[in-house]
């Protein structure tokens, strides 16, 4: 049948990752946001704190500068007389990290040369070298310079113009080791990283939990869909959140409508069969009582018409149903029903019909009438040819269900096994039957993605091996 292929295998619920998992996308997005905002917050807080500490240090240096300026006593030449005493003991301890220095500026407004006039003890033998710049009176400049012992220093400078000798400007320099800033900043960074790390972990955990809770209905929906697909349910069951429920209702409605359409198609096919075959019966019977050429023609054509009607009706019914999701038919009750039928119909011959092995849990992923159609035709065939015994076995192997029907009849030569599947082929032209049974079985089995093969039976007759999707 062109255009119609077994679709049982490619209707699976899309596996996670096919289009990317919704959960993963949401989770990655959330985590990226959490990370980005915490990084920005951490960086901002760090900057703020560093600026704060720097400003504090600058203020402290400014205070010291004022003290230095106040303690400065100049001689008549405008040179500092003696070392001014500042209160902070760090100005005395060598390389303590807190320094002052007084330079002379030779030419006002322009820095031609400089010489340190006085230095704090803490500088020991080092001299602070100040970048060349020009300062207006009273202006404060902040610099970063390298100090003694390789210390990175934060330095402020101011030009002082003594009242006595205004042309003899002095440059007052206060410097502090930047470690005084870095140490508290580093400490804060440590605390900040820890705190923000804990916060990030907490937020990420919350995001995971929220996603899991939020997406739980989707997981439920997926399970319900799988159940429908495998035929365990005929509709999606349960209540879902209002965002999903309309989808579920719509899907269920489509499923129900599908089933209804199939049912109607079957009924119509049946009605058509009834409407056609009764007149065919009348024609055949009328012709049977006559020996003429016309009667012969009628009998022949009625037989042909019957074959065609049977075949196309079976096909129409099957095509309507195969691949419809949500169908699952337990195997054993169908087999037992058919065996009751065969037992009665073949009662005369005293055939032994046995189910040798068929677990009650085995089920076919498909429609009950289609299963009956396949098994009925195969059983009918087996009973027709069997001498005394027909045996039935069913097994499941993963996704597949196997039904084996053995008879102890005359068997079928290997060369003839394929030919009997042709439409209208009959191994015995005198045995009753339309010769359609096996063709229909094959058509149905293939619609469901299964197969049918005839083999040699251990009972010496024919074994029909039917493979179907397991439900």
């Amino acid at each position: 049948m062109p255009g119609l292929k077994p679709c049982a295998d490619d209707r699976g619920v899309a596996p996670a990752g096919a289009e990317g998992s919704l959960r993963r996308r949401l989770l990655l997005g959330t985590l990226a946001w959490i990370l980005a905002s915490l990084l920005v917050a951490g960086w901002g807080l760090g900057r703020l704190f560093q600026q704060h500490v720097e400003r504090q240090l600058d203020a402290e240096l400014g205070t010291h500068l004022n003290q230095l300026a106040a303690a400065l006593a100049l001689d008549a030449d405008g040179r500092p007389q003696r070392e001014p005493a500042l209160s902070d003991p760090r100005f005395v301890r060598p390389y303590s990290g807190l320094y002052w220095q007084i330079d002379r500026i030779e030419t006002p407004g322009e820095l031609a040369a400089q010489r340190a006039l006085l230095r704090s003890r803490s500088l020991w033998d080092a001299v602070l070298s100040v970048p060349a710049d020009a300062l207006a009176d009273g202006e404060l400049h902040v610099h970063r310079v390298e100090g003694p012992d390789g210390q990175a220093l934060r330095m402020i400078e101011r030009v002082l113009r003594p009242a006595e000798r205004p042309e003899q400007a002095l440059r007052l320099i206060l410097a502090a080791n930047e470690a005084l800033v870095d140490a508290p900043v580093a400490r804060l960074h440590g605390v900040l990283v820890l705190a923000l790390g804990v916060l990030a972990a907490g937020l990420a955990g919350a995001a995971v939990v929220q996603l899991r809770l939020g997406l739980a209905p989707l997981a439920r929906l997926r399970d319900a869909l799988a159940a429908v697909h495998q035929g365990r349910r005929s509709a999606i069951e349960g209540r879902f959140p209002s965002e999903i429920q309309p989808l579920v209702d719509e899907f269920n409605a489509v499923l129900a409508r599908n089933a209804e359409v199939v049912e109607r198609a079957r009924t119509q096919a049946g009605n058509l069969a009834h409407a056609l075959k009764t007149p065919l019966s009348v024609l055949a019977n009328a012709a049977a009582g006559d020996e003429g050429a016309l009667a012969k023609l009628v009998a022949e054509q009625v037989g042909l018409a019957r074959t065609q009607v049977d075949y196309h009706l079976a096909r129409a019914r099957a095509a309507a149903a195969a691949g419809l999701p949500g169908q699952r038919t337990p195997l054993r009750p169908v087999l037992e029903g058919l065996l009751r039928l065969m037992d009665k119909v073949h009662a005369e011959r005293g055939l032994q019909l046995r189910i040798v092995d068929c677990a009650p849990a085995l089920a076919f992923r498909g429609e009950v009438q289609d299963l009956q159609e396949m098994l009925g035709n195969l059983l009918d065939n087996a009973c027709k040819w069997a001498a005394t015994t027909v045996e039935l076995r069913c097994q499941q192997d993963g996704e597949h269900l196997y039904v084996l029907i053995d008879d102890d009849g005359p068997g079928l030569p290997e060369a003839a096994r394929e030919a009997v599947f042709a439409r209208g082929a009959r191994a015995d032209e005198h045995a009753p039957g339309s010769g359609l049974g096996l063709a229909i079985v094959r058509e149905l089995a293939e619609l469901y993605g299964g197969s049918i093969a005839l083999e040699a039976s251990p009972l010496r007759g024919v074994r029909a091996a039917l493979r179907l999707p397991a439900g």
């Binding site: 009348v282 049977a288 058919l338």
Partner: protein
């Protein structure tokens, strides 16, 4: 032997009536489920040919009603749809065999004969009683290989007795089984048929059981 044919298609019903009558059966016709149901419950039939698709009441329901009412006559169902679930439903409702339309009349006759024989506990298609042989397939009676010339009514009486050997069969029973319902019945005519049969058969085969009826007694 009396057969009920339930078929709503008039031409097919007539064909069945004709073929069955020609084969020596008394035939009653019903063209809807409700009539069929009443007839089957009230009249003693030896077999029923029952179409499944019927107006007023479908064949399966009719059959279930009969079986529920304890009617055990063999029933052959005719199905037009040819679906297995319908056949299984028919058998589970109590049918004994099925035929799919369109069918060959010979096949229907053969199945019907087999059903009637089986219902009477007879295994062979040829019923024997001493020198007397009834070939159910051909509807012929023979004594020592010589075919007997019997009218259809004589054949029906003999056939019923042959299907129930050793049983006492009342005149009423015989009447019910050789005449269709709308036939002008007269149980006295049974005596006439039996008397004619006795003349054609070896003596002593048909006994009269006083006040009860007749019995076919077969010498071993």
């Amino acid at each position: 032997m009396r057969i009920l044919v339930v078929e709503d298609e008039p031409t097919l019903a007539v064909q069945l009536d004709r073929a069955l009558t020609a084969a020596g059966y008394a035939v009653d016709l019903a063209d809807n489920g409700r009539d069929a149901c009443h007839l089957g419950e009230q009249e003693p039939f030896d077999a029923v040919v029952l179409d499944i698709g019927l107006p007023l009441m479908d064949g399966i329901s009719v059959l279930k009603r009969w079986r529920a009412a304890g009617r055990t006559m063999p029933v052959l169902i005719l199905t037009a749809r040819g679906e297995w679930h319908e056949k299984v439903a028919g058998i589970d409702a109590g049918a004994d065999d099925y035929l799919t339309k369109p069918f060959h009349m010979e096949e229907l006759l053969a199945r019907l004969r087999a059903l009637i024989r089986r219902a009477a506990g007879q295994a062979s298609a040829e019923l024997r009683c001493g020198p007397l042989v009834l070939d159910t397939r051909g509807g012929r009676a023979m004594v020592a290989g010589q075919a007997l010339a019997l009218t259809s009514h004589e054949l029906r009486v003999l056939s019923y007795l042959m299907h129930h050997p050793g049983e006492v069969v009342s005149r009423t029973t015989l009447t019910e089984h050789i005449y269709a319902q709308d036939y002008d019945r007269d149980s006295n005519t049974i005596e006439v048929f039996v008397a004619r049969l006795r003349k054609k058969l070896p003596p002593g085969l048909i006994e009269t059981v006083r006040g009860l009826g007749y019995r076919l007694s077969c010498p071993d």
